[in-house]
Symmetry: D2
Subunit: 305 residues, 4 copies
């Protein structure tokens, strides 16, 4: 069932989510909102001009209030960090925006996808402010990190990324956790792959963690990959695919984590991230996941202060 999909924030990221969603044919109606009203309007006009080249979908700029009528709302409003400020300043500002959006979506009947950073803390903020159940407020979380990891492993091993099965869990950020122990390639454990240099795992993990910085440093933002990733998530919901994807949501006990929002593999379908799974982890990974949860708990706590 094609959906009415709303995008809040039509900067680099929101626009890319909108465009990829359009081409994927997931939307019957695509609604754009930004505080810079003219920009949202301009994006809608520009996309509409290309209507002959994507599956039928009406694109328009709408007032914020209309988002409540959508089936899926993507939150991409907010800003990137500035060199001269602390991470905390960014968190405070974006959390304020996210909380406002959450309140505006109180009683919303659909699914919220949070993209704005820090995505895990904001997923929790939105869920709380909107009063929505945890499965219906999903952060893109480590889905992007996982795509990057699979691509890098694919290049390294010279195989298709489709044949690489590996996941990143925890925070989308510095404390993210690559689940090396369970990674496999075409049915072969990665660590059994002929010539796999296990001692380089920290280096690869570092590259994945630094990928956003590498792109932002060069072009000022990241948008294409996150747009495609969010579109994949939207597709899983719209088509009720029940795919298992590492996404962020407020956890309620899986892997011993409760209350914090972070990424674990979850079954995603029409009802959202309805079931969280406990992936196999070795002791180090388990400890790293707990540490990541603690980082996120502390960050959230600063908001209350």
């Amino acid at each position: 069932m094609k959906a009415r999909i709303g995008i809040i924030g039509t900067g680099w990221v929101g626009t890319s989510v909108a465009f990829s969603t359009l081409l994927a044919g997931h939307a019957r109606e695509l609604w754009l909102y930004d505080q810079r009203t003219a920009v949202a309007e301009g994006e809608a006009l520009d996309m509409t001009d290309g209507a002959a080249f994507y599956p039928r979908c009406a694109v328009s700029a709408v007032p914020l209030a209309q988002m409540r009528e959508a089936d899926i709302v993507v939150l991409a409003a907010g800003r990137n960090g500035r060199p001269d400020e602390s991470r905390l300043d960014l968190l405070r500002d974006n959390a304020r925006i996210a909380a406002g959006m959450g309140r505006a979506l109180a009683g919303f009947g659909g699914i919220v996808i949070v993209v704005t950073n820090p995505v895990d803390v904001l997923t929790r903020v939105v869920a709380a402010a909107a009063g929505l159940p945890p499965e219906r407020v999903i952060g893109t979380g480590t889905l992007l990190d996982t795509a990057r990891l699979r691509e890098r492993l694919a290049l390294h091993l010279n195989v298709s990324p489709n044949s690489v099965h590996a996941q990143v869990v925890g925070e989308h950020g510095d404390s993210s956790v690559v689940l090396w122990s369970g990674a496999s390639v075409g049915g072969v454990a990665l660590r059994d792959w002929p010539g796999w240099p296990a001692d380089e795992e920290p280096t690869v993990a570092g590259h994945v963690r630094r990928a956003a910085y590498d792109v932002i440093q060069r072009k000022g933002a990241t948008n294409h990959a996150i747009g495609l990733v969010a579109t994949e998530l939207i597709g899983a919901i719209v088509n009720d695919e029940r795919r298992i994807l590492p996404v962020s949501r407020v956890q309620d006990g899986a892997c011993g984590i409760r209350g914090v929002a972070l990424s674990l593999p979850a079954l995603v379908g029409a009802g959202g991230a309805v079931q969280v799974l406990e992936p196999a982890m070795d002791a180090a990974e388990r400890a790293a996941l707990a540490a990541s949860a603690a980082v996120l708990e502390r960050a959230f706590a600063t908001l209350a202060g």
Copy 2:
């Protein structure tokens, strides 16, 4: 046959052409070049991060010289007009860039697609500087205007844009010519369509002509629609589709026009815009086309001055 496709200029437009081409699966290798080297690199990294979500294609930033090895090169480098300058200043600056790129492509064996504005004059500039035959230097021309026209008519008549057959020819710009006399909707002449208000045709033509301004005024650039349009053109070449599309090329006699580059319907396949067709036109349309050719001839002449 999937192609090696090069994009020169990775600003708003070049990046959108690159991304849409990637999703359409036309490229086996996608090469990006910009004088802002870091931006081209950043775009390549960002797109590569999403590799799991589009058909296999290697994306990379390359030096300008490598473009000569491509099958298709898209020229999207240059700048948009500034409010405080004459149209001529823009023409001079972009023509200088285009001529340089043309010289760099002398002896090139593939197809050049020109997008930079003013697209018609620059198509002629590139063809001359590169010494390539007219069918192998194609400007996107009125393909974008045609898409916009069909979309607007579709909205007006409440039918699919796929059922609207109407073309814009001549300059991509103020002197463009809508071929109302030959427009049809699902096999019915537009002017026979129940309730079609023929007296509003100038208004609709005006909207189409002003569409870019409407978008630029709101978001500062246009990119999505032109990206999709260029991708359609690339697809027609890569798959040797022999589709008839209104595109710009140096004309050699069709409709009495010779030497000037402007858009007329042309058969586009692996060899480029290999055959130009003479669409049915009434007297007014014929005169308007001649006037458009004269405008373009004068603009080109100013470059010599």
Copy 3:
């Protein structure tokens, strides 16, 4: 909005419609029924085995009664003619089946697509038996003939079939009418196309009319093209595309025809073939269309006898 789509009759044709629909991603649920229950079951199992390779859709064999719950029902049950029988015998037999299905669909809330031959007479039979409004009982009619015509013209002119605009109207059968006078190629009237041999038009029309016989003589049935054609029609309905397609329905006055079902260009969207258009025709075409309507009127009358 993806649909629940039912197929009645899983022989050559029904199975091809099912499979193409599956790959196109139009169906959320695909229901198969045939009096040969085991065949419908086998097809459903076989398609389900390939589920990893098409967009999510549940395929199953169902009882006839369940078809009433579908959004679209395709009628492909019946048989092909035998060499040793009169055309009338076939008509009688298939009309009996179609009437039965029509009665089974009385009060149906969706759209019926009739494919079984003779498709025009049966479209009328089904509409009458089901008591459905004319726009909701659509025969594939000359949509297939039109596809064949465009393909043959495309080969003849060495251009893409996408650039050929030409239609066949009237009966899907011996009295079909090619609208040569309005045919165009990339905006150029076909009869103005350099080198178009207008004296060969009857030959081309004959080839199109004989196309089914040519295929049946070689492989015993036709299925791929009709499967793709029906899928296109389904897509126009499911996505409410409002495309204009030459399809059969009981006419209520367009081109002076009333009561008979035959093909004219019609606007097809979620509500069915909701608006019939009157294409430009020269005198000969107009006469041929009237003759075609008379043929179909007589055929229908024999059923009453």
Copy 4:
């Protein structure tokens, strides 16, 4: 790079491979051959009639000798077993055909995909008769069984088949081996999946093994799923995807098997099944694979007798 793809044998299976390949857009030219020349011609005509609905590709019936010019040749000629004959009779007959085709392809520069049953023995027969290196003669092998297994597990667990990672190796037939020990669902080992009934594994394996019989009993043949599976394999080759897929080829030492053709996960790209991988197996699986190899060795040996 789109390819010239040849299909030998246009019965149920060959035709489905052809049609799915056409829709997937992998072929630039599609060549059909069958000893029933008229059938191959009829299929080509029927597919060509639908050309407006799939990516540009020329379909034609060709003489056998032309297959040597193809990039990929699919061997689907031969027959299904008859109730009244021994399995050996079928093997003898189809092996004779396969050997003939192999000899006809001596010195062939492309890739052969074998589908005719018994697929593993015939893969070996073709490789020997054609004198081609093992990586360039690929049997679809357990790729179909693997698709069936994933689909059944997906239904059982109510998750997307895309999230199920499990493989069948060994013979495509009664001695096939499901690698339960390495199966996983979204990163969770299947045997750790909440509620997975490990004692039902033999039942599920039996269903997968019997799937072809279940379909054939109902509709007389299987074609849709094998058509899609072969198309996936073709795509991996055409686009040089380097995907890891369980396919059959003459083994040269992986898992201790040499000389016999059977399925193991292999890296498939433009050069064929270029690298065979050794999946993790427990002792029972290892023994079952050895037994499967022995079955195939004996079957091949009977041909010499």
